[in-house]
Point group: D2
Chain length 187, copies 4
């Protein structure tokens, strides 16, 4: 069984919703999923991150990059950087939410990919081609992200993110699950 930690910050609930959709899908696939809210990080969260096969980073994009509470978690990880408790050789992936379709979210995904590389992790992107290039895939990765997932917040509090983001997040969960299983199997 693969173990995956999703560490996240959510300012007003949109990223939390994305994380729930994503982790529910991971659970349905058979993964052991651990959600870690960076605003309330506990020793058990660090322990889970040490043990896990894969980490998924999730945060809103604020002013063009990952939100400060999430960055505080990233900075705190320098304590285990390069140590026996470090994350070398684990799978990593990223997700971010903003108001606009582009919204400088690629910058946050790059920031997460560089962070993962500093930890010696293996980066897995989205790999999902939506319409119009794949005309039958309307509502899948509609803004054309590749390095990770970029969702849009919506004002409807029952939805929080677009329906297309829900679909894409579930497919991204399958992608991360399969990559993690393969990587773990190959060890």
């Amino acid at each position: 069984m693969v173990e995956i930690v999703v560490s996240y910050h959510s300012g007003s609930g949109h990223t939390r919703r994305l994380v729930e959709v994503f982790s529910d899908a991971l659970g349905e696939l058979g993964a052991s999923v651990h959600l870690a809210n960076v605003e309330n990080f506990k020793d058990a969260d660090w322990a889970a991150m040490k043990r896990a096969d894969a980490h998924v980073f999730a945060a809103p994009t604020y002013m063009g990059s990952v939100s400060a509470p999430y960055k505080a978690f990233m900075d705190a990880s320098s304590d285990i950087w390069g140590s026996a408790d470090g994350w070398q050789g684990k799978i990593a992936a990223g997700m971010t939410v903003a108001t606009y379709p582009s919204g400088d979210k690629l910058n946050s995904l790059m920031q997460m990919a560089v962070f993962a590389a500093q930890h010696g992790m293996i980066w897995v992107g989205l790999d999902d081609i939506g319409a119009p290039v794949s005309p039958e895939q309307v509502g899948i990765n509609e803004d054309g992200f590749c390095l990770g997932m970029g969702a849009c917040s919506v004002r409807d509090k029952a939805q929080m993110i677009r329906a297309s983001d829900v679909t894409t997040a579930r497919r991204f969960a399958l992608r991360i699950y399969e990559a993690t299983a393969r990587w773990t199997q190959g060890a």
Copy 2:
């Protein structure tokens, strides 16, 4: 009178259309505009770039960054880099086109901004806030770009880019015109 060069590559006409809209607006504002197609670059184009107050870089995003023909022009500029014919202290801005709203276009804009910085230029971004943050600005910078302009290609050959991109490009022209006039005036 401010002089502005728009250097561009257009593979199938979308970037060419964006450039025309943008340069027409610049001309209406009173700028002297010089269009330079990088696939047919002449000595007169280099001379115009040396003389101009501002350069606008325009290219499609192919496979996540600026198209190869445009990159060939960027590489060719190393001949005048740091020389008396160089572009130090000129205004610079960037525009790119891709199929998807995000489409890794931010990566191309970053690439252009780093390029401009290598030449010692002054970078001017888009600065236009569309809906939903500015609810009355529906159809303006709808994908939320900041570092420059990101447009979407459309399949209708009469349009080539979205109506919102036409509106945004005209407003971006005003932004660049005013910044160039101010910078020139201050010399």
Copy 3:
């Protein structure tokens, strides 16, 4: 007289040292300089940022991007984003410090440039060519940064940064001073 605010975070004193060298040089040039420590931000700092002609962003690179305390300041600026108290049309520049010559510092400078673009600011890079390309300029911008300044921390607490970083910072101060004066003059 041009007014310049240098907002900074310094974890162990290296960035603070860089900021002092830089702001001393600005002062010698005749600028009015306001230093704002983001860990102790006051209303007077926000007021100075509203009033200033230019902002210089300075922070260490931690785990591949701008330190969390500095990011918290960036996020806090969303309160004045796009408002009458905003920074539209001001000059912006960036500086960062890390242990290694590259050290993913370019990622922090990109993050700062995207942030400045979100605020509608005008980005001014380093524009200083050191050895070996300019053989006589040994000890100037020795790592080849362009988008802003990247310094290296040293363990000697009396120095904090390399001698070459001190020299480069003073030249960068002149660059920012002149750009700000020109931009202000042109208004």
Copy 4:
């Protein structure tokens, strides 16, 4: 046996030297290595890329991003993008060379990582911590790159790159070999 393709462009021989060191080390480890010069790309090169378990991208950084000849190869790969001949699920890594220690090489590595993500590939970074953080590792990854390898050109034509780059390239070869073997094994 793992198969690895190193596709490269080399303008004046520095990248070619880096690629040779790297691929020799791969060969010593037991990998089947295919070198593909993008300036002379043949059908056999495309066939090798389809067949390989991993791709390593290697190019100089010119004017802040991947050289135009290498970008032309990247653009040409759009013909097989998302097709049965595509590179989905393969391992990818990147190397670049420039004059300066930083030299905007991180921008080229980001460009390569975004490119790999567009192709649905799995990105493996450098993961090698040199001095001063690891004091005994003097001369290893001395400029502190993470997302991939960044080397410095030297003027001595017998060397072409620094001795530390040779050492780092050999260690990077081991990293890529092991990751590819593990990923292949897990399929």
